[in-house]
Amino acid sequence: MTPDLSVSIGSLKLPNPLIAASGCFGYGLEYEHVVDLSLLGGIVSKGLFMKERQGHPPPRIVETPAGMINAIGLQGIGVHRFVKEKLPLLRERGARTFVNVCGTTLDEYVEVCKVLSDAEGVAAIELNISCPNIKEGGIQFGCSLHGTFDVVSAVRKATSLPVIPKLTPNVTDVASFAKAAEDAGADAVSLVNTFLAMAIDVETRRPKISNVLGGLSGPAIRPIAVRMVWECYQLVKIPVIGMGGITDARDVLEFMLAGSTAVQIGTQNFVDPFVWTKVLDSLKDYMTRHNVARLSDLIGAFDPTPPKATHP
């Protein structure tokens, strides 16, 4: 029996649930020499606006306990160059490409999605309404239920591609945002984007990154992200794509049990760009050990019965 790792996000079928997270995998092609891009469930591009963007001045990242803060500021080549220069190569490599779409206005989100609808080789749109690193747009939509509903509705009308809003964890009740997205016609939701954070150099009394504020990612945030996925899974019917601090197969399984249909791996790419094949192997191993024929059977299969107080 060969283990079946495939999962479905609406009409989109992925050979396995592992997706490279936006901003942590360049445009995918940067990694083609270390991993066969077609082996991944999918890859998410860096966040793209209509136009090219410079991003913030460096230093742009700083390490923190079991995590890192980044404020790249969405440096990017713009959707047109992406479609022209990157997409054809990604198609050739057999990558299932999700495009992370940014906007400073609702219209820009719609425009970018229209460009992508006309292009060939886009698997889905991940709507970035949650980047904590830019002032205009983005997270303003992601922190308001109306904003979320409106931007998802508008994009929904403009494209027939699967639309997956990416939610911010910097809200009181993330599940209500998943619900708003579902009501507006989203095909899935992905979460979490990074947590707004900062770090001060006490010797200079100045910030450690130029933008002062940035987004926290990595293992540090995993327990919060798992909780948020579980909350969303219980409230909405559309698939949830979970992420936040995944480093190995155990973490992938934790997110799937909590209700993730697929997962994204971000920061761990930097620690170990060869993470993908290692995780795939360990997932198969787990499936054999636990006699799981289809990995998708584990989605939401968390059993909330309390454990025993004593050890085995």
Binding site: C24, P58, P59, M68
Partner: protein
């Protein structure tokens, strides 16, 4: 050659001073692929704090007595947590070593001379470059500045390759006293019309800037190796950008891990 990741055993860790060590790693396949100026991203195995790897120039490509490549070394200088930990490693410890990464130096051949300018730990990429230049019989000089005489390392190594040494120390204990750019400027000034020297530089940013500007002033080309905080070393995170005059895909902030770390000194915008 695509980079690989090796769980490399520590073969040796020679402490050169209380701050510097040469850490030798059993990573033959990394060694075999490395070109002068490239770097590796390393991290002691099993360590989760700090989380991220750290970039280091490949210092030497190590060979056994038969000339078979057995690994690489890095010249490690204590700066913070990871470098301190690397300094303390013992033979038999294991280090994850991802590489080779980045753009190498472009080598030159006679009659162009090669002038390497190193500040402190900036010596690191020049051992392999000097070997490569020696192999092509290029006339090579190393301008090498350090804080003290005790921090001028591996002089024998370069002498054996026939490299001319021009040394400076901050305290004047060895070589001339002062900055390494002083003798460099004197030599640039002394170049006969029509003579050409490729100026390679690695060291603190102010030194790089001074060297690149001096080279340009005397109409000589330069290649400088820059250092930025690097999250991934592979072009994935966009943490390591530097401003260049004719940037490729991203207007003028380019990723120093894949477009560098070696840049044409005339292309960089100094901040």
């Amino acid at each position: 050659m695509p980079p690989i990741d090796i769980a490399a055993r520590v073969i040796a860790n020679a402490r050169l001073s209380s701050d510097y060590s040469v850490l030798s790693l059993a990573a033959p396949d990394v060694g075999a692929r490395t070109l002068p100026g490239q770097f590796v991203m390393v991290k002691p195995e099993g360590v989760t704090d700090p989380l991220l790897r750290r970039p280091f120039s490949v210092f030497e490509v190590l060979r056994d007595p038969q000339g078979v490549i057995i690994g690489i070394s890095i010249l490690n200088k204590k700066a913070g947590r990871s470098t301190r930990r690397l300094y303390d490693l013992e033979v038999g410890d294991v280090v994850s070593c991802l590489g080779p990464l980045g753009q190498p130096f472009k080598t030159v051949a006679s009659p162009t001379r090669a002038w390497m300018v190193a500040g402190g730990v900036g010596l690191a990429p020049f051992a392999t470059l000097a070997e490569s230049l020696a192999a092509s019989k290029t006339e090579t000089t190393l301008f090498y500045g350090a804080r003290t005489g005790e921090e001028l390392f591996y002089l024998d190594f370069f002498e054996r390759l026939g490299v001319t040494l021009v040394l400076t120390t901050e305290n004047g204990a060895r070589g001339t006293k002062g900055r390494v750019t002083l003798p460099l400027e004197a030599e640039l000034k002394a170049l006969a019309a029509g003579d050409r020297a490729m100026v390679y530089a690695c060291g603190p940013e102010p030194m790089l800037e001074a060297v690149a500007k001096l080279a340009a002033h005397y109409h000589q080309p330069s290649q400088v190796s820059v250092e930025r905080v690097m999250g991934c070393g592979l072009g994935g995170c966009y943490s390591c950008v530097v401003p260049v005059k004719h940037g490729g895909e991203n207007a003028n902030l380019v990723r120093s891990c894949i477009s560098g770390p070696v840049f044409d000194g005339a292309e960089l915008v100094w901040e």
